[in-house]
Subunit: 316 residues, 2 copies
């Protein structure tokens, strides 16, 4: 399949690097300031080298990628809230051209799901978004396989940065600020970690899960969110004395409530994954509880979810 | 989709009971001694009541189900080794009629994979077999989504009976024979538990995983198998002193070797699931390690995997 990849952060870069391995051609590649388009296949190494040297992947206008010849748009620009601009408009353009769309950008799926589905149903293109929840973990495909009506609830650890911080605080008895600085040094936390530690990122993923399970109607505003910034080391010590620990758990309840917050779990609970791991638990009508865990972030990991989605699309 | 369900054990019964909930009609249903066929939809409750009362699901010859009007054959007769008779012939008939086939029966997939794929490629029907590995756990769909070439190895706990016995032995310090008798009382182990405790069942599942990962060539004879019948309680006690425990682990290695046997794992290892749980770990090229765990057996659980497979088939 011919891919137009918009966004050249860790995920977009990994998608263009790995596309060939999955049997696809990149015919367009753009970041926020430039683009490269080639119907015979973009020279990926040259584009990445151009970005390294000049700051953009190519000399064309970014919009050139959206107008190029492709079968599937991979939308991997940064997640934005509210109107999910400009990711939503990229998706809209592609679907209006009857192209498929695979999203790594959470914004359009979390914030404008109903608009997104309306565009998809009016298009010959399909929309997929496995990479928006749990990185490499095949959560959306598993729900799709079971059928959303057979999944009654979902919960899990959906943010690796917050989980790393909580795991380290509990294991080493260190304070929040200390561990956060360490995580920033390691590249596990961003310079501005607020999206992760305040629970926003996990909340967006939960809004997406709620949309999938309940056929839309949810956005970030519907999620009750509490982050991990106020958790004292003493709370983790007290939990440990009782054989428990704290994890930032996001959940979509059977009643359709959506919330994210620190929760006590037993230290050997399946949910108590450590480090940057993510896990999702699905409660099902006929198959009990399913657990899926793995790497919830990272360029190649998230790109593998994007490319699995591309593989699930019908040929155009 | 119209289903012909062959086999009326726990899985076959659950498939006919749940088919309607997934939007499908059962137009034929057979066990080894009888069948019921109705192009407008079999009266499932009456068929199950007939089986309870008379011993067979209906008054027709079993072969009538295979000749009936249906879109997909669900093959849920007991697993047999070697030529996988009669399951293989059922599948053959359906594919020759260009019908889809979904298997819960491990025999044809573990023992005659290459024959099965040859029949499928000559047919307009497709073959799926999620239910043959790990019950409710979506292992095959996950490998399919990643692409088999991106999964380098697989390992896991694939037999709930053996895992129940090992978990209980370790937790209670009880001997093998004692725990096995208890498992038989609870219905977790069969009267003849040899398939489970000698590792055969796990080995068949590993042969299936190897066939999927390596595009065929494997059968039970290619699996190095050791069961759990010779494990003394003292070995579990020694392991526990060292923070470890024993699990019956099946694996397909990166070199393509396939083996099943008791292995020491750390007590808090992801693989150390307890009770009748199953888990599969996949090592991937781009997404690190994925873990999927849940109920590895049971009528409704396995039926949910069968019906998920039916949902993945193209319309005929």
């Amino acid at each position: 399949m011919r891919l137009a990849v918009v966004g050249a952060g860790a995920v977009g870069r990994s998608v263009v690097e790995l596309a060939g391995e999955y049997g696809h051609d990149v015919t367009a590649f753009a970041d926020s300031t430039g683009a490269v388009v080639d119907a015979d296949g973009v020279d990926v190494a040259a584009a990445l080298e151009h970005k390294e040297r000049v700051g953009s992947v190519g000399e064309d206008e970014p919009s050139a990628a959206l107008g190029a010849a492709y079968d599937c748009l991979v939308e991997a620009t940064p997640t934005t809230l509210g109107d999910a601009h400009p990711g939503f408009e990229h998706v809209e353009l592609a679907l209006e051209r009857d192209r498929h769309v695979v999203l790594a950008n959470k914004g359009p799926v979390a914030e404008r799901y109903d608009d997104l589905m309306a565009l998809a149903s009016a298009s010959d293109g399909e929309v997929r978004f496995e990479a928006t929840v749990g990185g490499a973990i095949p959560v959306i495909a598993t729900i799709e396989g079971m059928g959303p009506s057979h999944v009654t609830a979902a919960r899990g650890v959906l943010n690796g940065t917050a989980n790393f911080v909580l795991s380290r605080m509990a294991a080493e008895g260190l304070g929040y600020e200390h561990v956060l600085a360490e995580a920033q040094d390691l590249g596990v936390a961003e310079a501005d970690p607020s999206f992760d530690v305040e629970g926003t990122d996990a909340a967006l993923k939960c809004a997406i899960l709620a949309n999938v399970l309940h056929d839309g109607g949810y956005s970030l505003a519907d999620v009750d969110v509490e982050g991990i910034t106020e958790i004292p080391t003493s709370a983790l010590d007290l939990a440990a004395e009782d054989g428990r620990t704290v994890r930032l758990i996001g959940e979509v309840t059977e009643d359709g409530d959506v919330r994210v917050g620190p929760r006590l779990v037993t230290a050997n609970d399946t949910l108590a994954v450590s480090g940057t791991q993510n896990i999702v638990q699905l409660e099902t009508t006929n198959a009990g509880r399913l657990n899926i865990s793995g790497r919830g972030a990272g360029g190649p990991e998230t790109a593998s979810a994007v490319l699995a989605d591309v593989g699930r699309l019908p040929e155009r």
